[in-house]
């Protein structure tokens, strides 16, 4: 391995610890989450089915669905454009990028690509826009309706996401997510500070909205007129639908992973060792599945809010995030 010159201040150290380990961790994170995301959805659905007294399709059903869809030729509407094929890929890629950038298995930072909060939110927004364009492209009323609702929710969610993570970044003194997680690991008292709790609640609501869960959207409805996320994918089929589903699931899994690491940062890999890497992978998988189970249990008790009260809910979460930021300056 070639050793970096270190001449420039920002030059990357081309060492194992500087580049090899983070890349290995990122690849592992990617593989783990691609495997985990459908499983997470399977667990969520199965838990819900059991709580409702149904047998359920089993936790591997989403995997079988994806495999089936991938083998199928997509059918496109007559007047649709290339967006219908490209959009799903863009969404998938943005979700995969999230899995690479977020501190999930460990906090080793990739050189040159910061896991900065603004980068993360921007990457997520790419997926959001791609999905909205897919919804519009079919030219149906349902798709357009879904896209319009989706963008309304997105416009209300993104500021909350930014602000709540910003509140968390103040104790760390950095907007880099891996550093935030590390800080929480080193000084666990930060986790239960009022600032952190406010920000976590705001973040949790924002993540529920971003991933189209109850009470914002009902992922299991067949009523087109009530749909947000599902309305946009109505015109997609086959491979396109598989990418859309996988992309959305990956986003949910990655965001739950982030939430898990912020609440319970233990188990996260900070210095590269092989057992540490495995421990990190197992820890994050356990956190994601535990949060998924909690989400599913929580959803049983929830109903879908009236569309016009969704902005109120999201404004509430924004207010919490704002309070968190204000409090962090006042307390600090």
């Amino acid at each position: 391995m070639r050793v970096g010159t270190g001449a420039a201040a920002h030059a990357v150290e081309l060492t194992w610890a500087g580049i090899g380990a983070p890349i290995l961790m990122a690849v592992l994170q990617l593989a783990l989450f691609v495997f985990l995301a459908p499983l997470l959805i399977g667990v969520i659905r199965q838990v819900r089915a059991r709580l409702e007294g149904r047998a359920g399709a089993g936790i591997w059903q989403p995997w079988r669905d994806v495999r089936k869809l991938l083998a199928k030729e997509p059918v496109h509407a007559a007047d649709s454009s290339w967006m219908l094929s490209v959009g799903p890929i863009v969404l998938l890629v943005s979700s995969l990028l999230l899995c690479v950038l977020l501190p999930l298995v460990g906090t080793l930072a990739l050189p040159l690509i910061p896991s900065d909060l603004f980068v993360i939110v921007s990457v997520m927004l790419i997926g959001v826009v791609a999905l909205a364009l897919v919804g519009l492209d079919g030219g149906t009323a349902f798709g357009g309706m879904g896209s319009s609702r989706h963008m309304t929710v997105a416009a209300l969610v993104e500021p909350t996401l930014l602000l709540s993570i910003y509140a968390l970044s103040i104790p760390a003194g950095s907007s880099t997510l891996s550093l935030i997680v590390q800080t929480r690991l080193q000084t666990p008292a930060v986790i239960i500070s009022p600032v952190s709790l406010l920000a976590m609640v705001a973040l949790a609501i924002a993540i529920m909205a971003e991933t189209s869960r109850l009470p914002i959207d009902n992922p299991s409805t067949h009523l087109e007129l009530t749909m947000l996320h599902e309305a946009m994918v109505l015109e997609s089929s086959g491979r396109d639908l598989a990418w859309l589903e996988l992309g959305s699931w990956l986003k949910l899994a990655a965001l739950l992973g982030l939430l898990g690491n912020l609440i319970v940062p233990w188990g996260v890999l900070t210095d590269f060792t092989v057992p540490g890497l495995l421990l990190g992978a197992v820890a994050v998988a356990a956190k994601v599945l535990a949060l998924g189970t909690a989400l599913s249990v929580g959803e049983v008790f929830l109903a879908k809010a009236r569309l016009f009260s969704v902005p109120e809910l999201l404004a509430g979460s924004f207010a919490l995030a704002l309070l968190a930021v204000t409090a962090s300056y006042l307390v600090a």
């Binding site: 007294g53 309706m145 009523l223 087109e224 049983v300 109903a303 879908k304 009236r306 569309l307």
Partner: protein, 525 residues
Amino acid sequence: MTNRDTPDLNSATPGPPIPHAPVPHAPVMPAAPARPEIRVLVRDRLRQEASALLDSGNRLAMIACHDDGDALRVVYSFAGVFPRRQVDLVVPVPYTDAWVPSIADLSYPAGNFERGMRDLYGVRPADHPQPYRLVRHGHWPRGWYPMRRGARVTPRFEPDVESFPFVEVEGPGVYEIAVGPIHAGIIDPGHFRFSVVGETIVRMEARQWYMHRGVERLFEGRRPADGLELAEQVTGDTVVGHSLAYCMAVEAAAGIEVRETDRLLRALLLELERIYNHVSDLGSLANDVGFGIVHSHTQRLRETLLRLNKTVTGQRFLRGGLRIGGARVLSLPDPEVLRGVAADMQEIIAITLGHAIVRDRFTGTAPLSGAQARAIGTLGYVARASGIDADSRRDHPFVDLGPAFHVVTETGGDVLARYRVRAGEFAVSMAVVIDLVARLGEHLGSGTSVDPAVPGTGLAFVEGWRGSICHRVELGAGGVLSRVKIVDPSFFNWPALPVALADTIVPDFPLVNKSFNQSYAGNDL
């Protein structure tokens, strides 16, 4: 913007007095159906007579047209509660000059009956304010009136040349959402066209009438006893309601008396049908706001009830219990099972109404005011949720249901009011059924079955779970069915849906539609 399918309620005059004033429960005399008063009129006298009947508190129950072979005949059946009376206005109409003066301006439902009559019999309602087709599908050949005697049963269908003229709402930001006729989920076909600004519904038009099966025509020429199996299949979810109305209309036509125990048994079957449908819909309403666990439990209870139904008549949807002139069941329902379902359901209703989000979704959603409900002529729980105290079980009783029975009304007219009326009716029906089982003792019905051999005419009202069902039966020579006219309450209630939807938001439509839950099959025969 003209109102083509919906009544113009802003200009509507206060209308006739409420036909059904509230009365305290009194033991009603289970009498044989009142003999209708028949007045044969010339066309010019119709409007005057109809107007007088409507003004004196009678309700238009149906307009039925008949093809007698030598001429057409239109029968306007009115029903009153105080005093209890039935009046048939009979207007002969020659083939060559087939028209009647429209009474659509006197009664909104009359307008729709007239449009249906024009499509099926070719009798033109003169000066009709909404002279558009109703039942006629675009593919029907011109000049083909399927209920005329000479009409070929299956015509050669023609291309649909006149597309359905939906009213286009114009203005900045108005867009259309087209839903159906094929829907997600297993329901009958109907097309809904929403004109929307943002998320607010400016106007909704329903295009229905996709499933004309010629049910009324299929009755013609059958023996009355053979008509029963058809009556059971008018709509799959109202087996007892429609078959009982049919039986009672035949019995009224032939003057058949039914024993009291058999009438009690009929009341029992009717309430069992109401119970399983109310349970199912109370859960579906929660499901439509994403509260799935309630739906799962009501599905469990519905299945329990359907299995109980099977022990009663041998069929899950209660087919086979009724005979003309009697009733017969295999066993009476187990009161313990019913009490268990009632207790579970009370808990489910409490959980549903105690849920803040569900409560918010139900409250104030798509209100139908009492004045609107009255002007449209709504029936059943839709009417009762808007404060109209009408129930054929009390207004046209065939048996005394006992002290447990009372009519549930609400005044809100919104989804919550419709939910509460049905929740209340569920509890009342449960109490009535448990009481009826005790009153019947070991009696399983006489099983009397009569096939009348005399001509006659009979009209009957039965409060099915959706509302008042009305059948009018004419028996020809030897008792053969010459005409059966069926009116499901959905025929009266469907037009109320677009009216209630004004200013409702699009994502609330499925919930509102479910709260009305009108029948497609019963509407389009």
